[in-house]
């Protein structure tokens, strides 16, 4: 483990884009879908990408991945313990 090289996950082509979105945008998303924060899909605080972008419990992450049929697929995830 000691000699392993550290590298950033962000930008790796197998890792979709994770964006920490600000409070006002979170509210916009929640309103758009008519849901509470708890009804969003979840992502663990211990998830390597979350560790790297430094999000905290209760934050909402926007995940953008490429889709062969839809171009881009967006998912919002609530950071949990």
């Amino acid at each position: 483990m000691k000699n392993m090289k550290e590298f950033s996950l962000i930008g790796h082509n197998m890792v979709p884009q994770h964006i920490l979105i600000p409070e006002n945008e979170v509210n916009k998303v929640l309103k758009e879908y008519g849901v509470d924060k708890e009804q969003l899909p979840k992502i663990k605080l211990a998830d390597p990408v979350i560790v790297e972008i430094g999000a905290e419990i209760g934050d909402v992450i926007k995940v953008i991945r490429n889709s062969p049929t839809a171009g881009e697929a967006v998912v919002y995830r609530l950071v949990i313990e």
């Binding site: 879908y33 509470d36 708890e38 009804q39 899909p41 062969p68 839809a70 697929a73 998912v75």
Partner: protein, 880 residues
């Protein structure tokens, strides 16, 4: 926080103590009698009204509820002597063997106990099963010969039948009475009980020996009054009567000081009755029987098995307005129709509300009576009284019919019903059809709807459900009508379409330039919607003629344009397009078939491109009409040309046979060469393989090639006119491999992808030499099915065939369970109006269905090419 449904955190199972039994009991039952001479239930009898009521009019003496309102209440019987509960016979045995016969201590030293306890507590905390630990504890505790605590010598405990325990001391045997066992269990300490995996506050071991028997409420064992006025009691009541009688006799005998032998006999009898009351199918215990000889259905028989409470009453129930019978084909029906036997149509009914508009119509049904289809079976007046329509009262009922009444009208042509075949693995397993009442006793359906149901006619049965409300009928018509399900959401193509003869028929009609005269033209299209004769294609001998392609074009919708390569295309290096020598280049312009042959790729279920185009570019109704026309045309056409198949069609000329044998001999020679090279250690191994593996691969490869070559020879001599060849190339049924095996050579038999090696030591059968590596000794079948197999070949073929059967059996059970798990996990997910997928708590599972919001049914075989297709259609040429 949103309103999230509550979760069950845990379920606690335990034993009920005698104290609790008495507490929950509303009465002690002391007499085996049920009713007195006036027909009233006897107090403290088995039918005591404190335990609930079943007779209408009476009230429960405990809760005051009437029959139907009162759920029933338990009573109890005080057993004169304790008896073993059969359900715990095994546990009792384990505990007897693990505890001291004197002081009741668990026969483990305190360190071991501590260790096991720690492990159990840890596993409990993380929610893992503790059985492994407790089983080990029981095993260890069985070992000591003397008690670590009081020094008492331990004896072997033997079990006889289900619930008799015998202590063995050398040759001396001593029977343990239930009371002995009970008092021994009473001595076990709470800590020891925990090590045995039980919770002493919820389940003490002595509670597995019953001293009090709960009497189930009357409501779960109602008596039936027969027509003769005689009462017939439930099986459970019968059993309780036995128990109470023996209990009484036991008491009398004991009080009278009867000899020990008699007491023991009675005790055993009591044990027998309590055992069979709980479970009447214990091995080693003769089942208790009714006077007629029928075994009684007692407690566990009510729950267990297919017809038990769980599988029979909770997971599945019988429903009204349904019917089931064998299915058979009728190509003259529409795919949206189903032929219903007349006798079923007269039994099944649809409720009709009588209104001003339909009064006369409904009156007519009633007038016809119940035996004159389509009639009516019942009339429901506005006071909800249900009157049966009979031959005698039908005229009178029709006259008195009033607005607001309801009439149960018999099923008639055009009614919409649901049709289903199990296993219902996808949504097309239940579709809405229109009724067509027909004579005879089977359901009739168009063979083109067999694929979605996965039905055939080798004895399959199907179910029909008659919809009872307007809403249900409207919903069925709009959502699950056959025409709405031509496309499958599984792959975005048609799942309903031509099969077997439909494809052979279309193929023979459209291949090349068949010519038909006016009579045949009319005959073939007679059953379709076509009403006009088009201009003939030309004249021959002064008579007009039409081509097969003309005939097919008649049923294509106007404006259809398509270009594609048919199934029989050989993928030539340079396609000759319209001039293809196999007529495989299909072009359709404005609904006219200009070139190419119609085969499975055009109109077949799963693959039919023309079908697919029509459903997606026109309407489901047009597609339904097309399938109906196509299947009827195909059947007429196959009848026109004639089509038959027998094993003699696989006869090949002697020269072909000679070629085949020569070819196979050469292959065998090459195999021998490989073997010689192998034995002389000259065989070059393939990369990553041993020499032996290489030899096997080489032989398999060589023999595989040889078999295919025989197929080619056979195919060449059979020609494209051979009916089996027609079926294979058009995709109707069978393959060239089947033909090869029939006419050429069956080929290598394999087990797990390898040549057959099992059997005797060093050889497969005793008539081969040890270590023979040749083709024949390891399952190569040189003969064809037509020629017949030699005895050894036959044997190897059976081995290979068995593997196929086992594979399918295993696969279906595995995929069935896989499917069940998926369905259980996904069944509550729903696509909402905003396009999100959510569960019942409103939790978002997907923000857009499938990430792209595409309905897989309407996608083109799930490939993102719809836009390209539209552009191609508009500009008229291919785009990249």
């Amino acid at each position: 926080m949103s309103a999230v449904p509550k979760k069950i955190k845990e379920i606690q199972f335990g034993l009920i103590s005698p104290k609790e039994f008495r507490k929950m009991s509303v009465t002690r039952v002391i007499t085996a009698d049920t009713y007195d001479d006036d027909g009233f239930p006897i107090e403290m009898g088995l039918m005591d009204p404190k335990m609930g009521v079943i007779d209408p009019g009476l009230r429960c003496k405990t809760c005051g509820g009437r029959a139907g309102e009162c759920p029933g209440h338990f009573g109890h019987v005080e057993l004169i002597a304790p008896v073993v509960h059969v359900g715990f016979a095994k546990l009792i045995r384990k505990i007897l063997r693990a505890t001291c016969r004197d002081c009741g201590a668990l026969l483990l030293d305190s360190n071991q106990k501590k260790q096991y306890l720690e492990q159990i507590r840890m596993l409990r905390k993380i929610g893992q099963p503790i059985e492994d630990i407790t089983n080990e504890a029981f095993k260890e505790a069985r070992k000591p010969k003397t008690c670590q605590y009081c020094g008492a010598r331990q004896l072997d405990v033997k079990v006889e039948k289900p619930s008799t325990y015998v202590e063995k001391d050398g040759t001396h045997e001593h029977k343990l009475m239930a009371s002995d066992i009970r008092s021994r269990f009473e001595k076990i300490s709470n800590d020891d009980i925990e090590v045995m995996g039980m919770d002493p506050s919820k389940a003490r071991p002595e509670w597995t020996i019953m001293t009090v028997l709960p009497v189930p409420p009357v409501t779960m064992r109602p008596s039936i009054t027969l027509e003769s006025g005689q009462r017939s009691e439930d099986d459970l009541t019968h059993k309780l009567v036995d128990i109470i009688r023996i209990n009484q006799r036991f008491q009398e005998n004991r009080e009278a000081g009867a000899p020990q032998l008699i007491i023991e006999d009675l005790w055993e009898l009591l044990q027998y009755h309590v055992t069979t009351f709980i479970d009447n199918a214990v091995s080693g215990v003769p089942p208790a029987r009714h006077r007629s000889g029928r075994p009684l259905k007692t407690l566990s028989q009510r729950l267990k098995g297919k017809e038990g409470r769980f599988r029979g009453s909770l997971s599945g129930k019988r429903v009204n307005f349904s019917a089931r019978t064998v299915i058979s084909p009728d190509p003259n029906l529409s795919i949206s129709e189903v032929g219903v036997p007349l006798s079923m149509a007269m039994e099944l009914s649809i409720p009709v509300n009588v209104t001003k508009r339909n009064l006369e119509e409904v009156r007519e049904f009633i007038k016809r009576g119940p035996d004159n289809h389509p009639g009516a079976n019942y009339v429901i007046r506005d006071d909800n009284r249900r009157l049966k329509v009979t031959d005698k009262n039908c005229e009178e009922l029709a006259e008195t019919l009033e607005l607001g009444w309801k009439v149960d009208r018999q099923l008639k042509n055009g009614d919409i019903i649901l049709f289903n075949r199990q296993p219902s693995l996808h949504r097309m397993s239940i579709m809405a059809h229109e009724v067509k009442v027909l004579p005879h006793k089977t359901f009739r359906l168009n063979p083109a709807v067999c694929p979605p149901y996965n039905a055939d006619f080798d004895g399959d049965e199907m179910n029909m459900h008659v919809l009872q409300t307007e809403e249900a009928r409207a919903e069925a018509k709009m959502l699950i009508h056959v025409q709405e399900n031509i496309l499958s959401p599984r792959f975005g193509g048609p799942i309903i379409g031509g099969i077997h003869d439909h494809i052979s028929g279309m193929y023979m009609l459209t291949k090349g330039d068949n010519r038909v005269d006016k009579n045949d033209f009319l005959e073939m299209l007679r059953k379709s919607r076509i009403t006009e004769i088009v201009e003939p294609a030309g004249e021959e001998d002064g008579k007009p003629y039409w081509t097969g392609k003309n005939v097919f074009s008649q049923i294509l919708p106007d404006g259809l344009n398509m270009t594609y390569k048919a199934l029989l295309c050989e993928n030539c290096d340079t396609c000759k397009k319209e001039d293809c020598n196999r007529d495989a280049y299909v072009t359709i312009r404005d609904g006219q078939l200009l070139s190419g042959t119609i085969d499975e790729k055009a109109v077949g279920a799963f693959k039919g491109l023309i079908l697919d185009r029509i459903v997606k570019d026109y309407t489901p109704a047009v597609a339904l009409q097309f399938i109906d026309d196509m299947t009827r045309l195909a059947i007429r056409s196959i009848m026109h040309f004639g089509f038959s198949f027998g094993i003699n069609d696989e006869d090949i000329p002697d020269e072909a046979s000679a070629q085949i044998s020569e070819l196979l001999e050469e292959a065998e020679m090459r195999v021998m060469d490989f073997i010689i090279a192998f034995n002389e250690e000259n065989l070059e191994p393939l990369p990553g393989r041993t020499v032996a593996e290489t030899l096997e691969l080489r032989i398999m490869q060589e023999l595989g090639k040889a078999r295919d070559a025989t197929g080619e020879i056979a195919g060449k001599y059979l020609g494209l006119d051979n009916t089996a060849v027609i079926m294979a190339v058009s995709g109707a049924r069978g393959s060239m491999l089947n033909l090869t095996q029939m006419a050429g050579c069956v080929g290598q038999q394999a087990v797990r992808g390898e040549r057959i090696r099992r059997g005797y030591a060093g050889r497969t059968l005793s008539n081969f030499n040890h270590g023979d590596l040749g083709a024949a000794a390891h399952g190569f079948v040189k003969s064809s099915y037509k020629k017949g197999l030699s005895p050894t070949e036959y044997f190897f073929h059976a081995i290979g065939g068995r593997e196929g059967l086992v594979d399918t059996a295993v696969r279906t059970s595995q995929s069935g369970y896989l499917q069940r798990r998926l369905v259980n996990a996904l069944q509550d997910l729903e696509v909402q109006y905003d396009g999100t997928v959510r569960d019942t708590r409103g939790m978002v599972v997907q923000f857009k269905y499938g990430e792209d919001g595409v309905d897989p049914m309407k996608s083109d075989y799930s490939r993102p090419q719809t836009i390209r297709r539209i552009i191609e259609d508009v500009i008229g040429k291919e785009v990249e």
